[in-house]
């Protein structure tokens, strides 16, 4: 029972870090980003490349994968998303879906990730099959470390958004672009910053996941739907909401898969059902202020 | 014969009671002006009658039947139409199609609706703007389109929420004339408006609200000279002793 709870928290931590970037892009800016999974994949690739070439530990390579994804996100926003936004919601949805096809197949070119599954292995990888037993509970040490890194990032981002002036400018230009412009905020570059920051967090998620999960071009689409669920579950734009939303989804799926007979096949249904209930009866999510 | 009877209507939003037991009635074919400073509860009152939300206490009886937050389309089918303070045009559609949508709710088929739409368009002289997309109209024409659309649903009672807001003086006169024409065809009107010139010109009777309660009721001239109305609107110093 306790083991299932911690298993749920660990996978919940993974969901939370992936969804964290999306709370900025979807939660704050209301841009439906279908290419969010691809930012995670790019982060994984950067860590994979750095580990295989110079043996840099994935957690350290965050300092490179985050800026790399920031750049991709910023460019995607300024050259494409910003213009598509005027055309209405379905346009940004389709634009990012197109970007997803572009990024997946671009990274699948032979000189980058290529078509195959790769994985970080080798003895110099500290996290290689490293299982930590605390009391009767077993942990995947990489995910445990990832859990703490995620926790720190969540606090940093929350403080950044609520306390700093750039954070304030970000939220202002997302909610009322015209009003923000009048008070002197360069909305397009601030929004580009927000989008890039969202992508950077996805890059961080990629680096953390690279420690234990396989790396291939189309892995991004695996957790796309779950990230949207978590952002809405936690409350649009609420950073702590996304973190707790991720944990709730992780624990629910874990218990559902373990204790409900034949549950392993229906594992994802539990998360989806909770999502629908929250969406219908508490649209502002668990922690969001009224929308 | 009264078409609309409101008796000690009140509405509380949490602690704030926006409307405190207001009672009045409107006779058939009459034009009632509803005035008062901002925040007096005019729009809240208006929205309760229009079914946008239900009242905390009191009754609203329209043509003998109660209104208590029933959805706007039900009330519209019962003959109550309204215009919006902030215009809500069907932007991408042409003026003619805006009216077609309104006409279709009452007429059996497309042909009747088309005939009715042509009638309404000429009556509200939007003829030459027939094919322009609603989104590109001036504020004056947008307000006129609102009225035309409301008219096209053959209402017996028309609630108008500041139809003259933001209009040039000449547009105000046009709007006054429009209201008079509509009224001539037997449509009862309840008008919320700040421009006193217009209210005085069209209303048969006026009621004045101030922070939620009714402070004066009656003919336009008596109400205008009523001390507490002046005090409420212009402040004490204007009160002639």
């Amino acid at each position: 029972m306790v083991q299932t709870l911690f298993d749920g928290l660990m996978i919940g931590g993974v969901y939370a870090i992936i969804a964290l970037g999306l709370t900025l892009i979807f939660g704050v800016m209301r841009v439906i980003n279908m290419a969010h999974g691809e930012f995670v994949m790019i982060g994984m690739f950067v860590s994979y490349f750095l580990f295989t070439s110079i043996g840099l530990d994935p957690f350290i390579s965050i300092i490179i994968s985050a800026p790399a994804c920031f750049l991709v996100g910023y460019l995607l926003y300024r050259f494409f998303v910003e213009k598509a936004k005027e055309g209405g919601e379905e346009n940004t949805l389709l634009l990012t879906a197109g970007a997803s096809i572009f990024l997946i197949n671009f990274m699948a070119l032979p000189f980058l990730l290529g078509p195959n599954f790769s994985r970080l292995t080798g003895d110099n990888l500290f996290w290689q099959n490293n299982v930590l037993n605390i009391g009767s509970v077993s942990f995947n040490s990489a995910l445990l470390m990832g859990f703490f890194v995620t926790g720190i990032l969540i606090c940093l981002l929350h403080l950044f958004l609520t306390k700093t002036d750039i954070g304030l400018a970000m939220r202002a230009s997302a909610q009322e672009p015209q009003a923000a412009q009048i008070v002197g905020i360069n909305v397009s570059s601030i929004s580009g910053l927000t989008f890039g920051l969202g992508a950077a967090f996805a890059g961080v998620a990629g680096s953390i996941l690279a420690t234990t999960y396989p790396i291939y071009a189309s892995i991004g689409s695996l957790y796309l739907v779950k990230s949207f669920i978590i952002v809405v579950l936690g409350g649009m734009g609420s950073i702590p909401g996304a973190a707790i939303g991720g944990l709730i989804l992780g624990v629910t799926e874990s218990f559902g898969a373990t204790y409900i007979p034949g549950g392993t096949g229906y594992r994802d249904v539990f998360g989806l059902i909770i999502f629908l209930i929250v969406l219908l009866y508490r649209p502002q999510g668990l922690f969001g202020k009224g929308v | 014969m009264t078409i609309l009877k409101v008796d000690n209507l009140s509405k509380k939003f949490g602690g704030l009671n926006a409307v405190k037991n207001v009672s009045f009635s409107v006779g058939k074919g009459e034009i009632l002006g509803l005035i008062g400073p901002n925040g007096a509860g005019k729009t809240t009152c208006f929205n309760m009658i229009a079914g946008v939300f239900s009242q905390s206490e009191g009754k609203i009886i329209f043509e003998g039947k109660e209104i208590n937050g029933n959805p706007p389309y039900v009330l519209n089918n019962r003959g109550l139409a309204r215009t919006f303070q902030i215009v809500k045009p069907l932007a991408k559609l042409s003026v003619f199609d805006n009216l077609m949508v309104a006409c279709l709710s009452k007429s059996k088929n497309i042909k009747d609706a088309r005939k009715k739409a042509k009638e309404v368009i000429t009556k509200t002289n939007l003829e030459e703007l027939k094919n322009t997309t609603a989104g590109s109209l001036s504020i004056g024409n947008l307000k006129r389109l609102e009225v035309a659309r409301a008219l096209a649903t053959d209402p017996t009672l028309l609630l108008m929420d500041e139809p003259m807001g933001g209009l040039t003086p000449s547009e105000v006169d046009g709007s006054i004339q429009l209201i008079k024409d509509i009224n001539k065809e037997g449509v009862t009107i309840v008008l919320v408006e700040h421009i006193m010139k217009a209210v005085m010109a069209v209303s048969d009777s006026i009621i004045v609200l101030q922070n939620g309660s009714l402070i004066s009721k009656g003919e336009p001239n008596d109400v205008v000279n009523d001390k507490n109305v002046i005090k409420a609107y212009l402040g004490d110093e204007y009160v002639k002793s």
Binding site: F80, S221, L272, P283 | R82, K88, D97, I110, T132, T133
Partner: protein, 328 residues
């Protein structure tokens, strides 16, 4: 000239010319284009005309596909009946769904439909008794259309041509009815529509019913044409997204949008595979395809039809304002 006549003429011309030099592969491309026209029209009813962007429309496609396969395999009814019943099942399923999620707006509505489609995807994969699970279902006997046995690609092509014409025309005429006007009114401004006597929930569920019905019919045909379906072919996010691509690329909220969008998108995919320059890396053609979508959406937000209109207006300096009642 009445639309019905002009559609018949165009369909007739295509039906005569194509067989002159079409081979098996070209028939399959054209049939795929026609299937996506139907799916695009279905989605457009709800997304384009009523403004409710659904992101899980593949669920109606799947209901149509699976019910048609089951009916044909067990009762072997005529294709017309099978497709109608498939569409009806999808339509009936849409009622409870509509009541539940029509309170939601914008991204929430899209995500709710996405969640329902994912749930159906998981159910289809695990409910072996009904859908034979991940293994998928094969068509065991040949479908018949008005008694004629439909088997080879050209036969399927002609049926697809007929169905696509009927679906497009029915959408066109539906939008001319009172319901059509109220769909548009709700898209433009729901409060104004309600103030004019339109019951928005009932109208939205009517739009959803027709949209689901047509998606079910198209899905049924898709299943019978492929003679094999599995959850991955019918219930993925990719299928729902493709329905939106086809419509938005052509021009959302127009009858011709899905027709043009589907023709371009499907042929482009096949054509890019052919270009020798892209053969060097196997995934290069999809890189170009993704880039194409991004560029189109940024520089032609209103879709190709809007683009044509703008070009025409640019040349004819002040072309006629688009009076809805006249344009497609």
């Amino acid at each position: 000239m009445k639309p019905v006549i002009y559609v018949m003429i165009v369909t007739g011309i295509i039906a005569v010319i194509v067989p002159l030099f079409a081979d098996l592969y070209l028939y399959s491309i054209l049939t795929t284009v026609l299937i996506w026209i139907m799916l695009g029209q279905a989605w457009n009813l709800l997304g384009g005309f009523t403004g409710q962007i659904s992101f899980g429309h593949a669920m109606f496609l799947a209901i149509g596909a699976y019910s048609s396969m089951i009916i044909t395999n067990s009762l072997n009814l005529d294709m017309i009946l099978t497709l109608l019943v498939g569409g009806l099942f999808a339509g009936l399923f849409s009622f409870p769904l509509g009541l539940l999620i029509f309170r939601l707006k914008g991204p929430y509505f899209a995500l709710a439909t996405l969640a329902f489609a994912e749930i159906l995807h998981i159910v289809a994969r695990n409910w072996k008794g009904l859908t034979n699970g991940g293994e998928g279902m094969m068509l065991s006997n040949n479908a018949t259309f008005l008694g004629i046995e439909i088997f080879s690609n050209d036969e399927y092509f002609f049926v697809a041509l007929l169905l696509a014409a009927i679906v497009s025309l029915s959408c066109y005429y539906l939008m001319k009815t009172k319901a059509g006007y109220s769909f548009i009114a709700i898209r433009e401004n729901q409060d104004a529509a309600e103030a004019m006597g339109i019951n928005s929930t009932r109208t939205k569920s009517t739009a959803l019913f027709f949209s689901a019905f047509l998606a079910g019919v198209a899905g049924g045909f898709y299943g019978l044409y492929n003679k094999f379906i599995d959850p991955e072919m019918t219930l993925t996010v990719h299928m729902s997204a493709e329905m939106i691509f086809v419509t938005v690329l052509g021009g959302i909220g127009t009858i011709l949008g899905p027709v043009i969008g589907s023709t371009i998108l499907i042929t482009l995919q096949e054509y890019l595979k052919e270009v020798p320059m892209f053969q060097s890396f196997s995934s290069l053609y999809l890189v170009i395809y993704g880039l194409f979508i991004m560029i189109i959406i940024v520089y032609l937000p209103g879709g190709i039809i809007d683009g044509i209109k703008k070009i025409r207006q640019y040349f004819s300096k002040g072309g006629d304002e688009s009076d809805y009642s006249k344009s497609g």
